[in-house]
């Protein structure tokens, strides 16, 4: 991640959703995010945070460290790290979106939405950290409304 980098550490829990959003929104707004992309950025951050809380730390708790930096004129580079067990959410099977109401599985949509809304996303294990690194398009993805 190229400097300048902003960082924040938060408890990995649903209670941190708004603080995480507020922090990264600060960078996104300064970098010129389109107004209608803010909710998508919130969603990406929430899904990653909740995944960390549910899978990396369960049954315990821990912290997430978020960092962001502007990446070129229209992208925000965000990294979200935790100290939980080795957990790569990107390896989950994609949800079967063709099922009918009765047999549509109730979970599995979070990572799918994240992948759909970011330009690129990668997982790496560094020491005792899981790090999810993604680039968020500030002006919306090609083909957006």
């Amino acid at each position: 991640m190229d400097p300048p980098v902003e960082r924040l550490i938060l408890p990995a829990s649903a209670g941190s959703i708004s603080a995480l959003s507020e922090f990264v929104r600060g960078g996104a707004v300064a970098a010129g995010i389109a107004e209608n992309e803010l909710a998508k950025l919130d969603l990406v951050l929430e899904e990653i945070l909740i995944n960390v809380a549910r899978y990396a730390y369960t049954p315990g708790t821990g912290a997430v460290e978020v960092a962001y930096a502007q990446a070129g004129p229209c992208k925000l580079h965000v990294e979200i790290a935790d100290y939980g067990r080795i957990f790569n959410p990107l390896t989950a099977d994609p949800p079967d979106l063709s099922r009918g109401l009765a047999d549509r599985p109730i979970g599995g949509l979070g990572v799918f939405l994240v992948k759909s809304m970011v330009d690129s996303i990668a997982y790496r294990r560094e020491g005792d950290q899981n790090i999810l690194s993604f680039k968020f398009p500030l002006e919306g993805a090609a083909g957006d409304d």
Partner: protein, 110 residues
Amino acid sequence: MNIEPTELEKAVLLKVTGRMDAENAHEFETACDRWITHGTKHLIADLDGLQYVSSMGLRSFLAVAQKLQSTSGSLILCGLHGLPLQVFEMTRLIGLFPVFETSQQALATL
């Protein structure tokens, strides 16, 4: 998020406003469960004032719709727009619910 219920002749209208996220999505499911236990067959969620929904919110909508389907009822959505509409479309959940622009249009089908 705020949920304001109105009991109508053929359905219960739930006006949902604000943001539905991992912290509060269960409140929507709990509110719906209360009406389902009460014998309500059709719930109409007016989402005109819903600004945000994450996957935990989608789970709640899906869980409620599955419960109602098993009692030959339905969860009807109306007023979807913005990010909530986008995520319902991206996940192809939109095709699993009766969807209308307004609650009046939804009521006219019951």
